[in-house]
Symmetry: C2
Subunit: 461 residues, 2 copies
Amino acid sequence: MSKQIKFELPESAMPKFWYNIAADLPHPPMPPLNPGTAQPISPDDLAPLFPMAVIEQEVSMEREIEIPGPVRDILRQWRPSPLYRARRLEKALGTPAKIYYKNESVSPAGSHKPNTAVAQAFYNAEEGVKRITTETGAGQWGSSLALAGSMFGLDIDVFMVRVSYDQKPYRRAFMETFGAHCTASPSERTETGRAILAQDPDSSGSLGIAISEAVELAAQRDDTKYSLGSVLNHVLLHQTIIGEEAIAQMDMADDYPDVVIACTGGGSNFAGIAFPFLGRKLRGEQDVEVVAVEPSACPSLTKGAYAYDFGDTGHLTPLVKMHTLGSTFVPPGFHSGGLRYHGMAPLVSQVVAEGLARPTSYHQVECFDAGVQFAKAEGIVPAPESTHAIKGAIVEALKCKESGEAKTILFNLSGHGYFDMQAYMDYAAGKLKDYAYPDQEVAMALAGLPVVDEAAIGAGG
Amino acid sequence: MSKQIKFELPESAMPKFWYNIAADLPHPPMPPLNPGTAQPISPDDLAPLFPMAVIEQEVSMEREIEIPGPVRDILRQWRPSPLYRARRLEKALGTPAKIYYKNESVSPAGSHKPNTAVAQAFYNAEEGVKRITTETGAGQWGSSLALAGSMFGLDIDVFMVRVSYDQKPYRRAFMETFGAHCTASPSERTETGRAILAQDPDSSGSLGIAISEAVELAAQRDDTKYSLGSVLNHVLLHQTIIGEEAIAQMDMADDYPDVVIACTGGGSNFAGIAFPFLGRKLRGEQDVEVVAVEPSACPSLTKGAYAYDFGDTGHLTPLVKMHTLGSTFVPPGFHSGGLRYHGMAPLVSQVVAEGLARPTSYHQVECFDAGVQFAKAEGIVPAPESTHAIKGAIVEALKCKESGEAKTILFNLSGHGYFDMQAYMDYAAGKLKDYAYPDQEVAMALAGLPVVDEAAIGAGG
């Protein structure tokens, strides 16, 4: 038996196309709506914020969209990312299951986020944009866009949630090393920021506020656009290179997953690995089970409503159809910043609603237990977000131990935890809490939203 | 022209042998001496501290030493490490030179150190050892041994210099995540520690003190040995897998380096990449220029004496022939913890003394300048130690720009800087100082050492 651990594709085999699941879904995606009229928005409505190439991808129904050469030339710096067989973890668990993981932590920013940051920076540069504004919470997304901006000569202007700005100076230093500009949000630089500071000079900020500040600045200047690191269709599209590579690598391993598992916050790393496999299932080529793992403290897929809601707290965005805990829901302070979003990517929501993926949730302490077990076996300290996927994979593997089934499990290791050691210290010190989600929150948060005639819109979609 | 960036070997092509340069050097290495008698020590003298397999490697004159299967099975988790062509850096510099780097930052601990940590843990486990003691400064070595220990079920007992223990809680958390035990040094656990604390309860510690504590504990118990992360012959041997891989990868790139460059602290990453190339030169197969880059603040190769000296501050070690600034020299507080050693590996010293490598030194600010330029071009934030190698490579590339020569330059990227962002913050804030080395130090530090009749010893070597 071969003991091979890494299945690596040469650069020459890097995928040349992203995969757009909208082409294969049983129903067309529900369009985003203007909150004033409750009618679909047009691509032109998005033009002040996004380059046209990205807007076209947002609404495209083409199955394959070509990855531009200059984007591939940068992605090849770390892609194709390796697929690992977790032999030592399998042994530690005593499972007959085969466990594989796609290692997205090898990117320069330490997660899957640069896959879309590089593409978005390219399209902006192509259309003459000089500056991109964005928000970041824990810092993964800001770091990725900072990196991408330095590759294309763009100014990157990051609004970092004040509490993270103060608590994570190293993430900030990382962004600044690549030449990005970091501002603590709320700031004096925008009307939104000034209004909030006037009310509460000590505001610790939120992702919702930071989004509003970044959007406000981008809308003001022609040479400036805005960029988002998850949720939107084009972001998910750019991440499908993960799954496209994984399909080829599973083939190298002469294997195919029975189950594909990823964590879900905004949905981009989940979509990245799962959608290409789901595409094969939808086209009748090969069956697969897909599991989305979310934190019990912010369980949009398992406890949220599937409804039209705002994407941000400040209600500046269009209404989108998604699993949501309500745009006013503020998740408690658990350690996976990337999973603290009240909603879910519309395409991921649709996939779950159509029964193509099974959502599940775990508490943070059991996820860290899984993450430390993974680290000791595989040598990689995972990002707190990624421990949710690991937990999901271990649960599947232990089911196999009980049943004797030798399933093939594939999960996405979305990032490493080198910048998250405080979370591991809190875990080791027994300071981490599990948070229960208050069930009545959703109904309260959705009360008062515009009435949407979904049947009429769906027919026009 | 191919735009290939990464040259990756499959696991099946991972080297099966380490390369021992002692077999090819014009003169045999000078033996370590008993400081009492000034006569060579015997392997048995080292038996309380090291497993016998390691001691045999320490004195071996065999050219090739087989890498055990269980060691290869762990190394394959991240090896062969990729060789990169630094195309974007070349472009940023406008040089006709081709720049390649071997990326050792991909290891789970973020540097080349696990290459020997895994081997040493294996040999100790094979001989029934239950616990390994060691010291660590900034934490790179402790992290690597912690990782290796978790793979072989060994208890790892790390004495971490007090000032780093307090300043780098995240490095400590990393070691503890892998199950290692961390003690701030000086500690109450050893006679050495207690004596120092009795004199100075607030002692911030030093690498010399931490070594003494680790050695003291190891010598007391049969089930406990001691491990060192650089300097010794067997450590350098285990690192030669870097250069062996690089030779095969340069061949994949249809190229061969005119110059090989690495930073030098204890000498292990330098030896790792340079010795296999020097072996080819020594055997008349292919010429190469080798450059060792050290910090101006701790310039053992460029300003030290080549003499018999103690390896530690506490004078517990044998005398070894090396380039040294004197065992009492305490380097100033610059940011490359891994380069703050008063001496140099005896084999590296000999290579320099025999004219096979050219030593050079740079100040830390110019090294950080180079490191940030590298990060912006290549996307990887380098460890402060590695910025020295980058500086050396950029100097060579700019010489080519002036002369028009299209040299091929290869350097070793020994590690990443994810745990060193404080250094980058200090750099960005203009807080980093350049330190001049005081020339009179060496003579003072070497005064009073035992008189060694080198001619007599050399003849018997």
